[in-house]
Symmetry: C2
Subunit: 85 residues, 2 copies
């Protein structure tokens, strides 16, 4: 089934305690390559039928209105899943 | 700064209450195009310097060992951020 992927990340100026916790854990476990970590959300929306321009528009609107909190988060990408392209 | 993106999703057989809640909210708000929703996590790992094969390997290991819970989650993608390619 066709899928639309929506990626949501905390805004750069917003503190991200989950990301900070991961960033603190990585070097303790031997992963010293990473300077910082941000944690966001990824949504997979299953679409019945084809992904038309209208479906993509609806996904963008849903991303802005339902899937993200515009005060603290940015919708960084709304894309069609690779395997359905 | 170069970034590695790690996408983590709940395994298909695992109940995803967050996704279910979103899927229930969408049609109430007029978005009837979507049959189901799964919610996962997206991590952005900032890398100091270039993204070498070793950094990518470390990111894959960190994804499997730290960023995901292999009992209930799958690492669906470990990629270099588009804008840094």
């Amino acid at each position: 089934m066709a899928r639309v992927i929506v990626d949501v990340m905390p805004k750069p100026e917003i503190l991200d305690p989950q990301g900070k916790a991961v960033a603190g854990a990585l070097p303790r476990l031997g992963f010293t390559q990473f300077a910082s970590v941000r944690q966001g959300k990824r949504f997979e929306l299953e679409v019945t039928g084809e992904i038309t321009d209208e479906v993509l528009l609806a996904a963008r609107q849903a991303a802005a209105q339902v899937l993200s909190n515009p005060i603290i988060e940015d919708v960084v990408a709304v894309t069609i899943a690779e395997d359905d392209k």
